[in-house]
Amino acid sequence: MSTPDTKRIEADQDSPADTTVAELAPLYRQMLAIRRMEEASAKAYSQGKIGGFLHLIIGQEAVCVGAIAALQEKDYVVATYREHGHAYAKGVAARPILAELYGKKTGLVKGLGGSMHLFDKKTNFLGGYGIVGGHVPIAAGAAFASKYRGDGAATLCFFGEGASTIGGFAEGLALAALWKLPVVLICENNQYSMGTPMYRSLAVEDVSLRALAHGMARDRFDGDDVIKVKRRIAEAVERARTTGEPTLVEVVTYRFRGHSMSDPGLYRTKDEVEEWKRRDPLNRSRQRLLDLGMPEADLDALETDVKAEIEDAVKFAEDSPPADEYFPYVIKE
């Protein structure tokens, strides 16, 4: 349902945000690396080298890359089980990520967490969580600590539109608004919660309306243009840093694959998926770089470089020794 307060998504296919090759190229590289990393995981999964649930973010790369590009190192990121890209964008290398998916000792979390639970203290990546909505209060908690210490850090919390109906999200939102916690709640609205389209899970089409209930700042836009995502999230991050106020941001995007590797995604028409693939944020950025005058050759070099990075990471994961201990990680002595 659309309401008087619904924030329209401006159709801006032809009006890309101002940028330069210097700014866009590294973000394009990140998105491409994430895409290749996800494809490599999918392949390894089908070969039985990765187990459990594997949730890919292919198609949504511009959201995590653009948003996290607006951050400083000290800022925190909290994400869901669909978080390989977020970890990579925050600065985690492909090697420990893939090794983790392979369940190896060299994995980011020693083979204990797998795909859904990537954590990296060095880059302030506070983790990937598997209980829908349960991580929103955790993000508010990191923001609470920043306010408590006055360290000027902001926290980004990513979640899907399907999470917007659960209590954990509602309580995190209410407390962040009441206490003015420096957190940016980013709804990656990929329009499906597993097999459920938005109209069967939400009474309104605009998730950012949730902010009105708390007099909280809100924003809503599409996630095709990585630079636009960066700019708009930067505004919210700036608000968090300076006024300490939270923002609820909804970014409309689309996942090209099923919910997880075990989901054939039969609930969507081929046309719908094709339509969105035409809007692929990677192609869009690549074209934009060409328009901005980046030589084809440089782009080819960049892509070869990414290919090599991921191949190396896959090899690293394949060759690493299996995970071998878990008792030391139950209770901290």
Binding site: G103, G130, I166, G167, T196, P322, F327, V330
Partner: protein
């Protein structure tokens, strides 16, 4: 007798009960258009329409509570948790409302509702998705807790659960859906299995193995192995944890004089502890050895396959426990 899968048995039970009683409906995430995350509700939407097969948003506390309210005024909801790991966000509705309304209302309102879904570890789904909370629900008066191990038990017990006038927590084995078993044919009112009756899955004279859900299969495998060494295990499956059929369990333990309890979950204050308390209390004089317990390691479930296997109770662990109980080691 037709041999069908545990999944199909559950599906048949719901279909038959929904055909029989228009007040029965099913509600949960992906139960309708998606035919269930584990396909247990396959075809039910087509047969019964969106009115009786209700896809929900992600709001377990909300739809569990909606089930309780609907049950109070005469409907018979089946609430599916995609897995019981997610029941933790709804547990207040189950414990503080569903289990207590009959008592709080002085017997005026009762709550005929079934909370069902897969429980226990699957394969490599890590710590937040690999938990067994049966001891939580079994702890609570006002609830019944059922954990079938075979397709036949699954069908007969789910039908009884749906007809029960009390809240029933019906925990399915996440790794049992594809297992098959002989399931008797018959009309909609045939072959119901009463809640609260244990079943001897294998007879034996040397030692009693008590297990439920997936661990029954582990015990049957261990029993085969041990039989080769001439050790005859009796495998007893309580099937229902609350109310617990202590007499059938105790009878077996008195007969064999030895008892090993096998559970897939964490050891400390797991349901196996309750079984152990009851058996030592009722069978102390006949016990020739302390009651042994085989459980998961006392850790959150790791992701890596090799570690996950190490953590979970395996046939070899049961065999070793049996030998300890028989002083063969």
């Amino acid at each position: 007798m037709p041999v069908i899968s545990y999944r199909e048995a559950l599906n048949q039970a719901m279909r038959e009960e929904m055909d029989r009683d228009p007040s029965v409906f099913i509600m949960g995430e992906e139960v309708g258009h998606y035919n269930g995350a584990y396909k247990v509700t396959q075809g039910l939407l087509q047969r019964f329409s969106e009115r009786r097969v209700v896809d929900t948003p992600i709001a377990e506390m909300g739809f569990a509570g909606i089930g309780v309210g609907a049950a109070m005024v005469g409907l018979r909801p089946i609430i599916e948790f995609m897995t019981f790991n997610f029941s933790l966000v709804a547990i207040d509705q189950i414990i503080n409302n569903a289990a207590k309304i009959f008592q709080m209302s002085g017997g005026q309102y009762h709550v005929p509702i079934v909370f069902r879904g897969p429980s226990g570890p699957a394969v490599q789904v890590s710590s937040q998705h690999s938990q067994s909370f049966e001891s939580f629900y079994a702890h609570v008066p006002g609830l019944k807790v059922v954990m079938p191990s075979t397709a036949a038990d699954a069908k007969g017990l789910l039908k009884s659960a749906i007809r029960d006038d009390n809240p029933v927590v019906f925990m399915e084995g996440e790794t049992l859906y594809n297992t098959t078993w002989e399931v008797p044919e018959g009309g909609p009112d045939d072959n119901l299995i009463p809640i609260g009756v244990a079943d001897i899955k294998r007879e034996g004279k040397d030692i009693t193995l008590i297990a439920w859900s997936k661990m029954v299969w582990t015990c049957l495998d261990a029993a085969k192995k041990l039989a080769e060494e001439g050790i005859e295990c009796e495998v007893v499956d309580p099937r229902t944890l609350r109310p617990l059929d202590v007499n059938t369990l105790a009878e077996s333990v008195r007969k064999t004089g030895r008892c090993v309890i096998v559970e897939v979950g964490w050891p400390v204050a797991g349901f196996g502890a309750e079984v152990a308390y009851q058996m030592q209390k009722l069978c102390m004089d006949s016990l020739d050895a302390p009651i042994e317990r085989v459980c998961s390691d006392d850790v959150p479930m790791p992701y890596a396959k090799n570690l996950e296997d190490e953590v979970q109770p395996q046939v070899k662990d049961v065999v070793a426990a049996v030998k300890r109980a028989l002083y063969l080691e």
